[in-house]
């Protein structure tokens, strides 16, 4: 491992590589690759066509120029592996049936244990394919579907087709088009009317192959009055070559339903993480995006909520922690289409070393959306003098009854604050970590416990020797 990556590897707990030989690996972005992926999955013809059309759209759309620098990524696009199939007999529903080396990885990450203790269902994706998927029996009996996206297409094609790519069409943006062409893995979730899933469903994404692109696709349908919380976590080994993660998440929250989607991405710092997440929220329904961005080299991610029905509500809680070498361009979008809709965005970012955290958000209120309410609060904390942050809050308000609030603050970790805590006996590093933890507290307290613990551990690690 080159010297410059060493310190990163020391800090990155999940940087171990697993010794797993893939069954099939497809390199390069061509119609041939796309066809072979579709073939390997035994897809219906309409999906193959959809993929090929999406690839054309991808070719046509320009690279986004308004955000982080993607020129290095653009040069590498033909060198990635677009499909890597791990050795497996398909998606297991018992950990015993997951290949030994892969199972060991998930055991090191504590997934089977978490499943036993706190989760309603678990999905595990390894490179391109889901290797494990299981939901608690009592939920299955109530008609809750939690399967791999491939199985969703195979077994529930009718529902699948009704929603797939309707919320995020391939033409939405270049990377949504890319995902649409080469998507593989991800989850399909359907919660029937009135069914409340009280404990979270969790999906765990692991990249193992060097120079790999992961393109999971998740479709969640929460039917009328139903409730669900879906969590995704991401890690990978640290390679010298760069990697790409481009997911598309579509969520349909029906009338009076309640849904929550939590992401904690802790990709290594050579990962481009370009994800499109969007939810449609119907009348009286509620959706929350909880978005934690800790890892990656570049992240561009703006979870969107389309408030489509009267009285629909959405909340976004976002944490970004940009360390040296990272540019995290994150935020959220609230699109108010109906009357009495309300939305709130709270974004907390921390920049350390030469890291850069940007908030980019949009609040749009349609002409017909009477009495819409939106509130945006974005706070940035800078740890070092060379740390950077910027804020791009866009507002498009077409209805004059809208109530819109926006508040942004930038603060720097202050010596006098640290001194104050030190005079109470807290060592300097601990004082700094406490201030950082306090800064993100309003968002962190909404996190599932194990993620909150993980986040605290990361902050402590990052604040060691960072001041003074």
């Amino acid at each position: 491992m080159p010297e410059d990556l060493k310190h990163v590897a020391d800090d990155y707990q999940w940087g171990f590589k697993d010794d797993v030989e893939p069954e099939l690996a497809l390199k390069g972005l061509t119609p041939e690759t796309v066809k072979r992926i579709s073939e390997a999955k035994g897809e219906p013809a309409w999906m193959t066509e959809f993929r090929l059309k999406a690839l054309e759209i991808f070719y046509k759309l320009p690279m986004p120029k308004w955000g982080p620098d993607l020129t290095a990524l653009e040069r590498q696009l033909d060198d990635f592996f677009y499909y890597v199939k791990p050795p497996s007999k398909g998606v297991a529903d018992r950990w015993e049936d997951v290949p030994e080396e892969i199972k060991r990885t998930y055991e090191r990450l504590g997934i089977p244990e978490a499943e036993r203790k706190v989760l309603a269902g678990v999905g595990a994706q390894y490179d391109s394919e889901m290797v494990y998927h299981k939901i608690k029996e009592e939920l299955e009996k109530k008609g809750v579907i939690y399967v791999s996206i491939e199985e969703g297409l195979r077994e529930y094609e009718e529902i699948f087709r009704k929603y797939f790519a309707k919320i995020v069409p391939p033409s939405d943006n270049k990377f949504a088009a890319l995902n649409s062409a080469v998507w593989s893995g991800g989850s399909f979730v359907y919660v029937p009317p009135g069914v409340e899933v009280d404990v979270p469903l969790q999906a765990y994404f692991r990249v193992n192959t060097a120079g790999f692109g992961q393109f999971e696709r998740t479709l969640i349908i929460v039917d009328e009055g139903a409730k669900v919380h879906y969590i995704e976590g991401c890690t990978a080994p640290l390679y010298t070559t760069e990697a790409l993660h481009t997911g598309v998440i579509e969520i349909y929250v029906h009338k009076n339903a309640n849904s929550r989607y939590t992401t904690i991405q802790n990709w290594p710092t050579n990962m481009y993480n370009l994800v499109t997440q969007r939810a449609v929220v119907e009348e009286g329904a509620y959706h929350m995006w909880l978005d934690g961005n800790l890892g990656s080299k570049v992240t561009m991610k703006y979870p969107s909520s389309i408030l489509k029905g009267r009285g629909a509500r959405a909340e976004v809680l976002s944490i970004a922690f940009a360390k040296s070498g990272q540019h995290l361009d994150t935020g959220a979008k609230l699109i108010h289409l109906a009357e009495d809709t309300s939305g709130s965005i709270v974004s907390k970012s921390i920049s350390k070393g030469d890291g850069r955290a940007s908030y980019r958000g949009l609040v749009k209120v349609n002409r017909n959306a009477e009495r819409a309410k939106a509130n945006v609060e974005c706070d940035a904390l800078l740890i070092d003098t060379e740390s950077k942050t910027d804020t791009y809050p866009y507002m498009e308000i077409e209805n004059e009854t809208a109530q819109i609030g926006h508040e942004a603050t930038v603060s720097r970790l202050a010596d006098d604050q640290i001194f104050y805590l030190q005079t109470r006996g807290l060592p300097e590093d601990e004082a700094a970590a406490l201030i950082v933890r306090g800064f993100i507290e309003p968002v962190a307290k909404a996190l599932p416990l194990e993620f909150a613990v993980e986040l605290n551990r990361l902050i402590e690690l990052e604040m060691e020797g960072s001041v003074g």
């Binding site: 202050a414 010596d415 006098d416 604050q417 001194f419 104050y420 805590l421 030190q422 005079t423 109470r424 006996g425 807290l426 060592p427 300097e428 601990e430 004082a431 406490l434 201030i435 933890r437 306090g438 800064f439 993100i440 507290e441 309003p442």
Partner: protein, 253 residues
């Protein structure tokens, strides 16, 4: 009597300007001393330097705690040895509740894990002395506190952490008379053979409630006069000018 805190010929600069010019001061264990003086005399600087504020440069001299030279120690090391500074302007730390913060601080102060029962016993006692509702423990450290609440919170920390030496930097400023009495009661409850305090104040008023054993007067970066509690009353009655003349005269002789 054992010297709890001792300042020996302390010279301190800030941004190239000498602020303390040879401070000598002895605070024996079990005593409460007042440190008075006009604005700009260097009182608050002395308090911060004793606590280890690295914004200031010690050019010469030493600070001793129980005979040990602590001049080069970090602020937290000093705190763990039993030193406490109640700030004139306490800082706000959003998102950190008083209860969480004090639990961490007490653990550091005692150098061991603190059972919840022991921690709450200390908190309850402190809150009772300060006539404060338990509800305050869930509030974030000083965030949105009034000036008076911040000062009261400093004394709550004092009562929970129970240091050996406390420096109170203008704890009386910005307090109405009722709050002043409450704060004084907090400090007085700590008094005993194992505790000493240096009470920095501009006014005699606080000293009606925290009666000092000894009064020091600072001017232009030095302690120029030391006396009994009556010295504070004399300063209250006559101001500082006569002392300035006396010092100038002594300097000239």
């Amino acid at each position: 009597m054992a010297k709890s805190l001792e300042i020996q010929d302390l010279w301190v600069s800030h941004d190239g300007k000498m602020i303390l010019k040879g401070v000598n001061l002895s605070l024996p264990l079990g005593e409460v001393h007042a440190l008075m003086g006009p604005n700009g005399a260097g009182k608050s600087t002395l308090g911060k330097v004793i606590a280890g504020d690295q914004a200031y440069t010690v050019e010469r001299g030493r600070v001793l705690l129980n005979g040990e030279d602590i001049t080069g120690l970090e602020p937290d090391e000093r705190a763990r040895k039993g030193l406490f500074l109640a700030f004139q302007y306490p800082l706000e730390v959003p998102g950190v509740s008083i209860a969480n913060f004090l639990r961490l601080a007490l653990k550091e102060r005692l150098g061991r894990d603190v059972p919840v029962t022991e921690f709450y016993a200390r908190l309850q006692e402190g809150l009772k002395t300060l006539e404060w509702d338990e509800e305050v423990l869930g509030r974030y450290l000083n965030e949105g506190f009034s000036g008076g609440e911040k000062k009261r919170n400093e004394i709550l920390q004092l009562l929970v952490l129970r240091p050996q030496v406390a420096i109170l930097d203008e704890t009386d400023s910005g307090l109405d008379i009722d709050a002043l009495k409450v704060v004084a009661r907090g400090v007085n409850s700590m008094r005993g053979p194992e505790f000493s305090a240096l009470v920095i104040t501009h006014y005699q008023r606080l000293l009606n409630y925290i009666v000092p054993d000894v009064v020091h007067v600072m001017m232009d970066g030095r302690v120029v006069k030391t006396g009994g509690p009556e010295l504070a009353l004399e300063l209250e009655a006559r101001g500082y000018d006569w002392l300035k003349e006396e010092v100038a005269h002594a300097g000239g002789s």
